[in-house]
């Protein structure tokens, strides 16, 4: 049975960490979450990114955010990764499993997973 008391424990453990979480991350993972994205399966993709980034200890490095319709509904679920000084990377037709691989190889390892990108999907 979950209780509000457990949130108190989370609060206590967060005391020193909170200030670090405010917009210092260099990488931004943006998941399209309009009707088209949701219907195509964006919800588990978003939640997989959030969980995996946390599990791998990458919350200082990458923030996961949601946006509306990106405009390429036929490729949903669509995920864009922005990093200062680099070209935007657009991943298409994503799944939770693919999301975990992108966290491991791209966010953690710095290597784009080319086979999931829109460039690969169009060829």
């Amino acid at each position: 049975m979950k209780t509000l008391a457990e949130l108190q424990a989370i609060r206590d453990s967060m005391k020193d960490k909170v200030s670090l979480r405010n917009g210092t991350a260099g990488m931004r993972v943006v998941v399209g979450m309009a009707t088209c994205g949701i219907a195509a399966g964006a919800r588990p993709v978003l939640n997989a990114f959030v969980e995996e980034v946390n599990k791998q200890g990458l919350t200082e490095k990458a923030t996961v955010t949601q946006t509306g319709c990106i405009g390429i509904c036929q490729y949903e679920p669509v995920v864009e990764i922005f990093e200062a000084g680099k070209d935007k990377v657009t991943y298409v037709k994503m799944t939770a499993e693919k999301a975990r691989r992108v966290v491991e190889e791209h966010i953690k390892g710095g290597k784009i997973v080319h086979e999931y990108t829109i460039g690969a999907a169009q060829n």
């Binding site: 049975m1 979950k2 509000l4 008391a5 457990e6 949130l7 108190q8 989370i10 609060r11 453990s13 967060m14 909170v18 979480r21 979450m33 309009a34 009707t35 088209c36 949701i38 219907a39 919800r43 588990p44 978003l46 939640n47 959030v50 969980e51 980034v53 946390n54 919350t59 996961v64 955010t65 949601q66 509306g68 319709c69 990106i70 405009g71 509904c73």
Partner: protein, 176 residues
């Protein structure tokens, strides 16, 4: 939409876009009827916009002139012998209420699906908005109040991963 919980996520996103500070999501099952109510205190819609809002060619999105969110919820309700009702007000007491009913044992009634995933996604996307969630069935109820959570959490943001995990586990528990 394969699950009603995906419609809930989609429609609640409209409330977010309307600038709501509090969004109530109630899912009540009684006498064989499931009633979904999503009520917000957002900017509301004009009577003209409201009159055409379930037309797929009405939308606030700017990428293309098609909006499928409310039409899809209307379809889901009507295919299960239910209906969609929307009331909205601008100006004083502004806000919008979307209500959809479903006959639960109808062959074409969509399953409720992963409400925990929907609430986690909503809170992650809008940690500063308050959500009041209630899912009541004959087996009991599940409830989530971000206001109550904030009272305990203080200045710890709701989109902290540990907090989102707590929300997910809470809503995955059986009805009580």
């Amino acid at each position: 939409m394969k699950e009603l919980s995906l419609n809930i996520l989609d429609i609640a996103k409209n409330s977010v876009k309307a600038g709501a500070t509090c969004i109530e999501i109630f899912l009540i099952e009684e006498a064989g009827i499931r009633t979904l109510t999503i009520r917000d205190d957002g900017c509301g819609m004009s009577p003209e916009f409201l009159a055409h809002v379930t037309d797929p060619f009405t939308t606030t999105r700017t990428t293309r002139p098609v909006g499928m969110g409310l039409p899809l919820l209307k379809l889901a309700a009507e295919q299960a012998e239910g209906k969609l009702t929307i009331t909205s007000q601008q100006g004083e007491n502004h806000g919008t209420t979307v209500q959809a009913t479903f006959r639960i044992n109808h062959l074409d009634c969509v399953p409720v699906g992963d409400v925990a995933g929907t609430m986690v996604t909503l809170i992650q996307g809008s940690p500063d908005i308050d959500f009041e969630f209630l899912y009541r069935t004959e087996a009991g109820e599940k409830r989530l109040s971000t206001r109550e959570m904030r009272e305990v959490l203080g200045d710890v943001p709701l989109d902290t991963p540990e907090v989102l995990a707590w929300v997910s586990e809470l809503l995955h528990e059986p009805f009580c």
